[in-house]
C-alpha cells in the first residue's frame, strides 16, 4: 500500500534484510535497556507475540497525503518485522474525539490513538502510563518543546508520547502585497489591519474562520488575546482572568478588522474553507499551516510561486501561537500495550521519523529540539517561519497549567464564540462578559 515515500526515504528503504534492519535499528536506538526492537536484538531473542496479533492505531487524515502513505508503509514494515498485523485507521480530525470517547467507555477499540491538543488531559482516565518511553525519547532527541510536553504530561506522568505540532503562520500573496504598495508583511496587528484594508479594497480580502471548527479559529483567536496581554486563567489554574483590558482591546480590534479587511463569509467557514479560498484566489492572507503551499505546489503552481509565509502578527505583549499538538496515547483497555509502546518507539525513532518528517514537507513541527536545525526547514526558505513558531507557542489554559478544563473551554468554543459574537454585533464588552462567565462556570466546577 502506497509507493510515494518521499525523496529522503529512497536511500533508506527497499529490500533491507531483516537482520541488517534490526542491527541498524539497534545501532541507532542505543542500548538494550531501551527495550523494543533494539532490546530484543541485544538479548538475542525472537519477538514473542502470538500469531494473529493485531495492533490498531487510530489517527486523523493528514492534509499531506505523502506523509500518510509513508506512515502506513512504515507500519506495515513494523508489522512484518514483528510478525504482527498493524492497522492504521485514518478518519476526519473532528471525529477522533468521538471515536476515542466511545472506545474508552466501551473499553474496546484502537490500541493507540493519536490525540490532538490537550485531550490526553481530558481523557486521562482511559490512557496508559507511557513515561518510560516518552522520557527515553526526550533524552535521546534533545528534550521536548514546552508545548509538546504540556499537552502530553498529565499530573506526574506521561499519558501520551508527543508526535508533533501542526505548524501555522500567516500565509500571504506576495504579488498582491506588492501591488498594494507594501514591501514586507506587516509585523503588528494594527499594521495588518491597514494592509488588509487596502487589499480588501482591491478585491483581495483577508480570510479567517470564526465558526465551530477545531483548528483555524482557535489558531487566530487565542494568540490574538495573548498578544494583547489577555489570557484565560491565572497561574493558580482556578482564577479566571479573561476580562482584562488586553482581551477587550484584541476583541475590539478584531471586530474593526472584520469590516475593514476580512472576507465576511468567515463566520460560516470550517478548517478547509480558507485553503480553498486562498487557492481559488479569493483571499490574500490567512492564518494556516503549510498545507496551502504544498497543495499549491502540487496543483496550483502559479499561486504557490507567489505565496509566502510570515510570523503571526505581534501585539503589545508579544507574538504568540496556538499550535495543535499531536501525541500518541496507548489505551488502558488495550491488551497489546507492550506491542503498542514498541510500535510508538519504532516510528518515533529517528530512522523512521526523519523520512516521515521530510515527506510531510515540514507541515509538522517535531516535538523534540533535535529537529530544529534540520536542513528541511531551510531548504525552502518559505517554510522557515513555521519552524520558528514553536518557540512562541503557548498551551491552552495559559497562564494556568494545562488541563481538562482548558479542553472543555476549547471544545465549547468559548474563545472563538467571544470573537464571533462581537463580529455579529454584540458589543465587545458584553461578549467578553459572556465568555468570562462561561469560563468561570468551567473553572469553578
Amino acid at each position: 500500500m502506497g509507493t510515494d515515500r518521499g525523496n529522503a526515504t529512497k536511500r533508506d528503504w527497499g529490500t533491507i534484510p531483516r537482520r541488517t534492519f534490526l542491527k541498524g535499528a539497534a545501532a541507532v536506538a542505543g542500548a538494550a535497556s531501551l527495550g523494543g526492537i533494539p532490546g530484543i536484538v541485544a538479548a538475542g531473542q525472537a519477538p514473542a507475540y502470538p500469531k494473529g496479533t493485531k495492533l490498531h492505531l487510530l489517527t486523523r487524515i493528514n492534509f499531506i497525503p505523502a506523509g500518510d502513505t509513508l506512515f502506513i508503509a512504515q507500519a506495515e514494515e513494523f508489522g512484518r518485522q514483528m510478525g504482527v498485523e498493524v492497522q492504521v485507521e485514518r478518519i476526519g480530525e473532528n471525529d477522533v474525539t468521538t471515536r476515542s470517547t466511545a472506545a474508552i467507555v466501551a473499553k474496546s477499540g484502537p490500541d493507540i490513538i493519536m490525540f490532538q491538543n490537550n485531550f490526553p488531559h481530558l481523557l486521562a482516565n482511559g490512557l496508559a502510563d507511557v513515561s518510560d518511553l516518552a522520557e527515553a525519547l526526550g533524552k535521546e532527541q534533545g528534550g521536548y518543546w514546552d508545548l509538546s510536553r504540556a499537552n502530553a504530561y498529565v499530573g506526574k506522568k506521561w499519558l501520551a508520547v508527543p508526535y508533533g505540532c501542526l505548524s501555522n503562520t500567516m500565509n500571504y500573496r506576495e504579488d498582491w502585497l506588492k501591488e498594494a504598495g507594501f514591501s514586507k508583511f506587516p509585523d503588528t496587528y494594527e499594521e495588518l489591519r491597514e494592509v488588509g484594508k487596502k487589499l480588501k479594497s482591491m478585491g483581495h480580502p483577508v480570510g479567517q474562520c470564526f465558526g465551530h471548527s477545531v483548528n483555524d479559529p482557535n489558531s487566530w483567536c487565542y494568540p490574538f488575546v495573548w498578544a494583547y496581554g489577555g489570557y484565560e486563567v491565572e497561574k493558580d489554574g482556578k482564577t479566571v482572568a479573561l476580562d482584562k483590558k488586553g482581551t477587550l482591546e484584541a476583541l475590539k480590534l478584531n471586530t474593526a478588522m472584520w469590516k475593514d479587511m476580512f472576507d465576511e463569509g468567515g463566520l460560516s467557514w470550517d478548517d478547509a474553507s480558507n485553503n480553498r479560498a486562498f487557492l481559488a484566489g479569493s483571499i490574500s492572507i490567512t492564518n494556516n499551516g503549510a498545507s496551502i503551499y504544498f497543495v499549491g505546489k502540487d496543483k496550483f503552481p502559479d499561486i504557490a510561486k507567489v505565496t509566502n509565509h510570515a510570523p503571526n502578527p505581534r501585539g503589545p505583549a508579544g507574538r504568540y501561537y496556538h499550535l495543535a499538538t499531536h501525541s500518541s496515547a496507548v489505551m488502558k483497555y488495550s491488551k497489546n500495550q507492550k506491542l503498542a509502546k514498541e510500535f510508538i518507539r519504532w516510528y518515533m525513532d529517528k530512522k523512521q521519523y526523519e523520512p516521515w518528517f521530510v515527506a510531510m514537507s515540514s507541515y509538522m513541527i517535531p516535538p523534540t529540539k533535535v529537529w530544529f536545525d534540520h536542513p528541511a526547514w531551510t531548504k525552502d526558505p518559505k517554510l522557515t517561519p513555521f519552524r520558528d513558531s514553536i518557540k512562541d507557542a503557548r498551551h491552552l489554559g495559559y497562564a494556568g497549567p494545562p488541563g481538562a478544563k482548558a479542553s472543555e473551554a476549547l471544545a465549547k468554543y468559548i474563545m472563538v464564540d467571544m470573537f464571533a459574537k462581537a463580529i455579529q454585533g454584540t458589543p465587545p464588552e458584553e461578549s467578553l462578559k459572556w465568555a468570562t462567565a462561561e469560563l468561570k462556570k468551567i473553572y469553578s466546577a
Binding site: T101, N125, G265, L267, S268, S273, A277, D417
Partner: protein, 328 residues
C-alpha cells in the same frame, strides 16, 4: 351456542375498563387454542422486544442514570441528583440551544406540512408521469442525510455558493448572501435544508391519505357550489386530519432530535446560533467528556417530546371518538 372447545368471546364487544384489566380477563377466560396462539404470538414478537429492549430501553434507562451522576469518560461517576440539570438551567448555551430547537421544530414542521400538502395535492391531481414524479419527489428523503447535507454545505458556502451565483445571475441579489454566517440566517438556512429533506415524508403520507377520500364527496361539494379553496377547507383538511396528526407527530419527534444537519452544516455555530439539544448534548458529552452532563442535556428533550406526543395522541383519539359517535 358454540361447539365445545371454542369460544365466541372474540365476537363479543369489548367491555369498558383499562386495556390491562380487559387483557388479563380475556387471558383468564381463554381456551387452550387461544392460549397456544397467544404464546406463538409472543414468540414472534420476541425479536422485536429484544431489539427494542437492547437498543432503545436500555440506553434510555442508562441515559437517565448517567444524567444523575458526574460520570466522565473513563471514570464511573457518583450519584449527584439533579445537579447536572441545575447546571444546564444556568447555562446560557443550553438555553440558546433550547430556544433554537423549539423554533427549528415549529418552523420546519409547519413548512414541511404546507409544502408537503401542496405537493400531495398536485401529485393527486396529476394526469400523467405519475410514477416518475412520485419517485423523484422521494429522492431528498432517500439520499443519505450526510451526503445530501454535504451537498447543501457546498451550495451554501459563502465563497462558492451555486445558490448565490444563480440569484446573482437572475439579478435578485447584488451582494452574496452569507447563508450560514448570520445568527438568524444560519438557523433559517438549516431549517430550509430540513424542509427540503423532510417534505417528501409529508407529501407521500398525505398523498396516501388523499387517495382514500372518495371523489363523490368532492362532487357533492362542487354541486353545492364550493370553490377549490372551500373544497380543501371543508372536505380535504378535516378528512385528512388523522393522517396529518400522525405524520406531524413523527416529524416533530424527528426534527426535535435532529443532529446530523446541524453537525455537518455549522457544528452549532456561528456563536451557538444553530445549536440544538442534540448537538449541544454531543458537544458536552463527547467533546468535553462529561457524559453525565451530556446525558442531562439530551434528556432535556424528553419532557417536551412526551407532552407533544401525549397531546397529539389525545387529539387523534378524540377525532376517532367523534367519528365513532357519528357512525353509531
Amino acid at each position: 351456542m358454540a361447539a365445545s372447545g371454542t369460544r365466541v368471546s372474540s365476537l363479543r364487544p369489548s367491555r369498558p375498563g383499562s386495556p390491562l384489566a380487559s387483557g388479563l380477563r380475556r387471558l383468564r377466560q381463554a381456551t387452550a387454542t387461544e392460549r397456544r396462539e397467544w404464546r406463538f404470538a409472543l414468540v414472534l414478537l420476541m425479536p422485536a422486544i429484544v431489539m427494542i429492549g437492547t437498543f432503545v430501553a436500555y440506553p434510555f434507562v442508562r441515559g437517565i442514570w448517567l444524567s444523575l451522576t458526574d460520570t466522565v469518560v473513563g471514570r464511573e461517576g457518583e450519584f449527584v441528583g439533579f445537579q447536572n440539570f441545575a447546571k444546564l438551567w444556568d447555562d446560557s448555551i443550553f438555553r440558546r440551544a433550547a430556544q433554537n430547537t423549539v423554533l427549528y421544530t415549529a418552523a420546519a414542521t409547519l413548512l414541511k406540512l404546507t409544502v408537503g400538502m401542496v405537493v400531495a395535492l398536485m401529485l393527486n391531481n396529476l394526469l400523467g408521469f405519475k410514477r416518475i414524479l412520485r419517485a423523484s419527489m422521494l429522492l431528498p428523503w432517500i439520499v443519505p442525510t450526510v451526503l445530501s447535507t454535504l451537498a447543501w454545505k457546498w451550495m451554501l458556502d459563502p465563497t462558492f455558493s451555486i445558490l448565490n451565483w444563480v440569484l446573482f445571475q437572475l439579478g435578485l441579489i447584488r451582494f452574496r448572501v452569507d447563508w450560514l454566517g448570520g445568527p438568524v440566517m444560519a438557523l433559517w438556512s438549516v431549517i430550509l435544508v430540513n424542509v427540503w429533506r423532510g417534505t417528501p415524508f409529508f407529501a407521500i403520507t398525505l398523498l396516501a391519505g388523499l387517495q382514500t377520500i372518495s371523489p363523490e364527496v368532492y362532487e357533492a361539494a362542487s354541486i353545492d357550489g364550493a370553490n377549490a379553496w372551500q373544497r380543501f377547507w371543508t372536505v380535504t383538511w378535516p378528512l385528512l386530519m388523522p393522517v396529518t396528526m400522525v405524520v406531524m407527530l413523527f416529524s416533530v419527534i424527528q426534527t426535535f432530535a435532529d443532529f446530523q444537519l446541524v453537525y455537518i452544516l455549522t457544528g452549532g455555530g456561528p456563536a451557538n446560533s444553530t445549536h440544538l439539544f442534540a448537538t449541544y448534548a454531543y458537544q458536552v458529552g463527547v467533546a468535553t467528556g462529561k457524559l453525565g452532563e451530556g446525558a442531562a442535556a439530551s434528556l432535556a428533550m424528553f419532557p417536551v417530546l412526551f407532552m407533544v406526543v401525549l397531546f397529539q395522541l389525545w387529539y387523534i383519539r378524540r377525532g376517532e371518538g367523534g367519528v365513532k359517535k357519528r357512525g353509531a
